[in-house]
Symmetry: C2
C-alpha cells in the first residue's frame, strides 16, 4: 500500500482571506469570485464548510504577492449590501502542504497517516481540503519545512525525485 | 481557454458528517480520522475552514451506505474528553458535483464560471473544496442532476464522453 502516495509538495508563500458570516444562499460564491476573477487574481485553495443559521464562512488562498489586490477586490464586496454584515480576516503568514497520490481514493489510512505525522510534530492544521488524489493542509509558514519533512518520512518519499516543486 | 475543463462528475449518494467546535490544536484531526480509519470507512471530501477562539469545525463525506458506521466511529469520540463539548451534525441527503480540468490551476475564471452556473440555477452550495485540477461542491441531492447539467453547459462538455462516472 506504500505506493499510494507518490509525492509531497509545499507552496511556501501563500496568504489566506476569509469572509465570515456571508449569506448561505445561491449567488454568494459567485459574487465573491467574480470580483476576484475580474482582477485576474490566481486563487489556490477555496474552502467552505457547512453553514449555520443561514450564514457560512468562505476562505481562499492566493499567492502572498497577490494578497493586497485580492483584499481590494473583496473589500469592495464588503460595502455592497449583498454580503452585508460579514467580517473579513486574512493571514499572510501561511503555507500549503500537500500529499499527492494516485491510489489515495480508496485508502482510508492515508488521511490518518497524514494527520499522524503532523500531530506528532505538533503542527497545527489551519485548513484542510481534499480531492481523490490529494490532501492539502494550510499551516503556519514557520511549520512548512518541517511539515514537508515529516510527510516525506511518513510516506517514505525520499526515494521519489519529483516532489519539491510547487504543484 | 475552453479546454481547461475536461469533465464534470457527480457522486449522488453521499452523506456529510460535521464535528463542530473541536479544539483547534495539533492532534484533533488525527483523533477523528484514526477512528474512521480503524473502521475501514472510505472518506471522500474532508473540509476544515479556519477556526476562531481556539475551536474549529471539521466536516467529511462518506458514501451514504457507510454513514451509520462513520457516525458510530465518531460518536465514540464525542464521549472522550479530548473532543469534549463539540456538536455532531450530519446530512444523508447530499451529493458531490465536481468540475475537473488539467489547465485549471492558472485560470482564475473557472471558479467564477462554476459558481455562475450554479447561481443561475439557484442551486445552493453547502461545501466547497478545491485542488489544482478540480473544484468540488456539496449540494442537496435533489439539485445534483441539474447541477451536473448546468456545469456541462457552462463548459460545453457535451462533446466529452468521459464524464458521467463517479470519480
Ligand atoms: C456560501 C455560498 O457558497 C452560498 N451557499 C452559494 O451558493 O453561493
Ligand atoms: C482542527 C484540527 O485540524 C486541528 N487544528 C489539528 O491540527 O488537528
Amino acid at each position: 500500500k506504500q505506493q499510494a502516495v507518490c509525492g509531497a509538495t509545499v507552496t511556501i508563500d501563500e496568504a489566506r482571506i476569509s469572509l465570515l458570516g456571508v449569506p448561505d444562499v445561491p449567488g454568494t460564491s459567485l459574487h465573491i469570485f467574480s470580483l476576484i476573477a475580474g482582477r485576474k487574481i490566481t486563487v489556490d485553495m477555496i474552502v467552505q464548510n457547512v453553514g449555520a443559521d443561514g450564514r457560512s464562512d468562505i476562505s481562499f488562498t492566493v499567492p502572498k504577492s497577490e494578497l493586497s489586490a485580492a483584499l481590494e477586490a473583496v473589500e469592495s464586496a464588503a460595502k455592497e449590501k449583498e454580503l452585508g454584515g460579514h467580517e473579513l480576516t486574512f493571514d499572510d503568514n501561511v503555507s500549503k502542504v500537500s500529499v499527492v497520490g494516485l491510489g489515495m481514493a480508496h485508502q482510508t489510512g492515508i488521511a490518518d497517516r497524514t494527520f499522524h505525522a503532523l500531530s506528532d510534530a505538533e503542527i497545527n492544521i489551519q485548513m484542510i481540503t481534499t480531492s481523490e488524489i490529494k490532501i492539502s493542509v494550510l499551516v503556519d509558514r514557520a511549520d512548512a519545512e518541517q511539515a514537508l519533512r515529516v510527510l516525506h518520512n511518513a510516506f517514505e518519499l525520499e526515494k521519489t525525485p519529483a516532489d519539491s516543486a510547487n504543484l
